[in-house]
Amino acid sequence: MLAKRIIPCLDVKDGRTVKGVNFVDLRDAGDPVELAWNYSQQGADELVFLDISATVEKRKTLVELVKAVARQINIPFTIGGGITEIADADALLNAGADKISINSAAVRNPALIDELAKAFGVQFVIVAVDTRVMGDKNIVHLNGGRLPTERQTLEWILEAESRGAGEILLTSMDHDGTKAGFDNGFLTQVNNAVNIPVIASGGAGSVQHFVDVFQQTNVDAALAASVFHYGEILIPDLKTILRENNIEVRV
């Protein structure tokens, strides 16, 4: 059976990981390559790097970082942050990235999805969507959830799929950082509406939350950052418990 994927997400700024990490055996917790290697050894199925560098010059560091990651790790990885045109994506692909993730740039210029899918194939294009409930509707937000748009989230996701998104990374900003669990209700709604893989994000606080998201929704993968970085959840333990709950995972 196709396994459910566990995906740690690393925030990177100027070539360094920014969120705190307390793995005891890391020599340099700010080194994304060492952290990535560590996660791959623990059994992570995939990695996402989100580049939050402020300037274009600093993004050049990212290409070197991507090469270093590709040299060291043997699992797929995605790069997101600051990709606004084909040339950005091309540089990352040539440096060894398996997929790229676009968020605000796709909302501002939806044709970017078509262009990327045409140039590199749908499997290369993840559309990341940050959603927040306003009134009784899920609304697409930009800038890390601070800036609401006019778009309803489900409608935007369906458009992204039709334009060539190969995968959806859906982050509930209402759940993100709460450690109260994923937004299983909305994830079910989205997952049932699309025919491409969905990665759940936002709200992971315990192993049970991962069990819940895979049992209550049929999403393909679950992404988290701090619970992994701070060692609150160890991936081998997480996978053992998922397996005990009859959820297919890669051993």
């Binding site: 059976m1 196709l2 396994a3 994927r5 791959s40 199925d45 090469k67 590709a70 040299r71 060291q72 043997n74 699992i75 797929p76 692909l93 040539n94 440096a95 060894g96 398996d98 590199f120 194939g121 749908v122 499997q123 190969g166 995968e167 699309v194 025919n195 491409i196 893989p197 049929n218 393909d220 993968a221 890669r250 051993v251």
Partner: protein, 217 residues
């Protein structure tokens, strides 16, 4: 494993000879190979690039990589002029992902005739409730024949797939199978030609084992 799965007509490929060594990667512009070459370097497997027919003699085995659109990839391969030489190869040759699909006779992707080294077709996954396309992620691979390509790899190990088209299951040539919607060829084998639908360079320790195995076939 059953008797009928053992192909009496399969001959093991020639061993490297004549001073040729290492893996020649067929370069035809279909997809990025950084991760593949990085993995070979990590494993200490020698490799080089094949751009012309004359380059073929330097190596004792070959990899045909490939990502993207099968029809477009075939057109690129044809434009290199390497097609007749590839079809005549007698040394071990491994197609990866779209590189594997090129070994078949035909792909629905681009409605394109391919190398026809395997009388099999590359088809699009049918739209099926509960099964997303592309088939993305780690799925189990079950070897169906004895072959050194899967040495030291437990049956049912997970490998990383990402594809919307698959090679049909065919008992004679399917070396290992995976089930997604229905069983399909996760890998194929005929004489010296091999293909894998998954990405060994992205498939963790077992993917590395498979590449090491190929380097020793």
């Amino acid at each position: 494993m059953t008797e009928s799965n053992n192909n009496a007509n399969q001959k093991l490929p020639l061993q490297g000879a004549g001073g040729a060594s290492g893996i020649g990667i067929i370069r035809y512009g279909a997809g990025n190979i950084f991760s593949l070459t990085a993995t070979l370097e990590r494993l200490g497997i020698a490799y080089g690039m094949v751009n012309t027919e004359a380059d073929l003699d330097q190596y004792d085995r070959y990899i045909i990589p490939g990502v993207g659109h099968a029809g477009a990839a075939m057109h690129k391969l044809e434009s290199t002029g390497l097609v007749p030489a590839i079809k005549a190869l007698e040394k071990p040759t491994l197609g990866i992902c779209v590189g594997m699909q090129l070994l078949t006779s035909y792909s629905q992707e681009g409605d394109c005739n391919l190398l026809d080294l395997f009388p099999m077709k590359t088809l699009k996954f049918p739209q099926t409730d509960g099964f997303k396309v592309p088939h993305t992620g780690w799925n189990q691979v079950f070897p169906e024949k004895e072959n050194p390509l899967f040495a030291n790899i437990p049956t049912g190990s997970h490998f990383y797939f990402v594809h919307s088209y698959f090679i049909e299951y065919e008992p004679l040539f399917t070396l290992s199978s995976t089930n997604y919607i229905h069983p399909f060829s996760a890998s194929i084998w005929r004489d010296n030609f091999y293909g894998v639908q998954f990405h060994p360079e992205k498939s963790g320790a077992y993917g590395e084992q498979l590449l090491t195995n190929f380097s020793q076939i």
